[in-house]
Amino acid sequence: MAAPESSAAAVPTLYTNNALRNAFGGVLAFFILLLIGVMAFSIRLFSVIKYESVIHEFDPYFNYRVTQFLAKNGIYEFWNWFDDRTWYPLGRVIGGTVYPGLTLTAGTIWWLLNSLNIPLSVETVCVFTAPIFSAFASWATYLLTKEVKGTGAGLTAAALLAMVPSYISRSVAGSYDNEAVAIFALIFTFYLYIKTLNTGSLFYATLNSIAYFYMVCSWGGYTFIINLIPMHVLLCIVTGRFSSRLYIAYAPLVVLGTLLAALVPVVGFNAVMTSEHFASFLVFIILHVVAFVYYIKGILTPKMFKVAVTLVVSVGLAVCCAVIAVLVALVASSPTKGWSGRSLSLLDPTYASKYIPIIASVSEHQPPTWPSYFMDINVLAFLVPAGIIACFSPLSDASSFVVLYIATSVYFSGVMVRLMLVFAPAACITSGIALSQAFDVFTRSIKFQLPGIASNTEVDAAETSSSTAEAQNDVEKSEETSKNRPSKKSKKKEKEEKPLPKAKAEKKRLLALPLDSSVISLLLLILLGALYVVHCVWAAAEAYSAPSIVLTSRSHDGLHVFDDFREAYAWLRHNTDVDDKVASWWDYGYQTTAMANRTVIVDNNTWNNTHIATVGTAMSSPEKAAWEIFHSLDVKYVLVVFGGLVGYPSDDINKFLWMVRIGGGVFPHIKEPDYLRDGQYRIDSQATPTMLNCLMYKLSYYRFVETDGKAFDRVRQTEIGKKYFKLTHFEEVFTTHHWMVRIYKLKPPKNRIRGKTKKPKTKTSTTSSRAKRSGTGKKNPWH
């Protein structure tokens, strides 16, 4: 017969057509991914093109210095390195206090390239590590979203992540910081967890633990993973989605992950003793109890099971209460209930401002403003809710994980601006799902309504065959999960399956939107994507590419470049002794040790509040007291950043309030109201005498009046209060071209003391001869 023959002939061509289509789709997806990686790499190169290939900001300089040390001395020296060039006289154990992932990664890349005879310098490798890993991160996003929803959603999510400004801001070329590598590790760990959850394979569970180990090595934010995954497991148990795949996904991760986390020296025993990890152990125990209950239920009859339940509940409840009482007593005995300061400030946003002013003073730890959401994730801000709804339309374990991830990351991003970075991948995944579903609906509507019946029937046959395949999969899935679920659901599915294919095809035709509106909607979606791309490129080029160690400004006579920081560090490097100590506010510590190669007193690690308070007190005290403090610390040079001549707003006078607050927190003789006039810090004629006499004021404005005669401070927009004064205990040794960095030297103590002698009598005879020579003329500045 003609009809069966044609249908018989049609089936193999359909099959080969499908296979060809799949193969073509696979190759297309591969090339799209390659292009996404190239785009992710190139959009981050604006700073290299506009300025130069230089390391940005403050923290990356420390990582760069550590990588230099690693490249020069090898890994054993690196693990055992005790750094005596910072936090003088305390020093810092680098091996035990740094997250080694980033430096080891860059060091390995450098070593590999050099052994292949590609002689890239350590600085080049450090500058370009972040863009390379952002390409990897977008590929990891593709893999993760493919596990949740399919290839189309995966490609969309990867394209969105490659460009999202929030991630660009922390991973431009030159921003050599932990997040550059950690975000890739985060997404990759989540991908492996979802893959294990979907397949139940122990191999992926092992890979998951290793990826988690890489994340622990890279960033302190690993606690997010070790709390989110237990939360998800608990959610699955509570919503009745417990399965053996869940056990395989979670239990090996906890054991192996805890061990691997304890291997990293920074974490050490914190992996088992701090509250950040207790959630994982608690859920581990709960999971085992639930698994045991399901097992017993499986092998007993229902009547016996009821008996077992009553027996266990009566006995187990008493044991449980005892254990919980012990645990609560243990946790309550520590003042912070076992949480670290940084974690507590996440849970209670007001904690840091009340108790730890240093954490509160870091600008990245402030809550974000609403415009920063739109700036950082742009169009994704309103695609995310659509994506959340799309995650619910078939709710699977993986999509429930995505919903949980985005809910928790939105909360934490609202507490701290820095955590917008953790929110960005979640936003990209959900937006990718939403966009891909929308495209799906519109293109399907167009396909159904295109002219041509042959294409329609072929499409119908393909749709029905695919829908029967889907129905078969549904039946299988329902069989697998029916073992542990109430039997009602599986019965319902079996009833639905038979009328499913026909109903689906008809429903699809009914659901097709009108042709013109779907075409217009498609065009509008593409326009939305185009606007997103335009915004991302603008944000990358204008907002996030500044290296902040070199500043530029445009005026009517061209481009001005302010390279004062490097000028000052180079001066320090060439004009001081190797062992001279430099004191400055902690912001500049890393840069000073890396670029000027001099010992500093405090740096950006801010681990010792008292030491920072000492420096803050010195900056807030009058000259003599400050000299005493600095002299006791063996300081030779003091470095001050001053932006009043050029209008640079992040100078030390603007940071002065933190010096007073932190210093006053430890040394009670520094009282903040002494420096305030009407509740404000002022440096003009209305300033308090304490303010006008403090070291920071004097070192910033010494000889400032000589620049324009009126001493007009361009940042504070006033003339300063005290214009003509001399320094008694310090002498100015260097001021950079735009007066942005000023370096002062401590004057050595005088050899003789006129008046009250504090030294023993034997010394006065030797100094009395000198007193005759220099006693006349000049007034003694020391008394």
Partner: protein, 116 residues
């Protein structure tokens, strides 16, 4: 009266548990025996730590976690090899065992490193 019936119930429960467990295949029983052995070893280590003190804490941690780890991995193997488990019916048991060996290798590598 209530007490006697609960005692009877407990006895009946125990009996039915025993008979149901006797019906499991031999390879699963061997795996269960291994799990029991490693948990028992972990308990011995915890009791020893309670008596003697936990001074090289990393050794204690690696010892206990290696026992718990092999127990967990053996349970995962049991899940994957169990013929009644519909989710894993197309997973050959050799593959499951190979995964088990690989995971144990990684676990013991970490343990050896952490043992100090």
């Amino acid at each position: 009266m209530g007490r006697a019936s609960s005692k009877e119930d407990a006895g009946a429960l125990f009996h039915s548990l025993r008979s149901a467990y006797a019906a499991t295949p031999l390879n699963l029983k061997i795996i269960d025996l291994y799990v029991g052995f490693s948990i028992f070893t972990a308990l011995i280590q915890v009791v020893y730590m309670a008596i003697v003190g936990s001074f090289p804490f990393n050794s204690f941690l690696s010892g206990v976690l290696s026992c718990v780890g092999t127990a967990v991995l053996a349970v995962c193997l049991r899940i994957q090899v169990n013929k009644e488990n519909k989710e894993f019916k197309d997973l050959p048991p050799e593959r499951a065992f190979a995964d088990f060996v690989l995971c144990n290798l990684v676990l013991h590598l970490v343990i050896m490193n952490f043992l100090g």
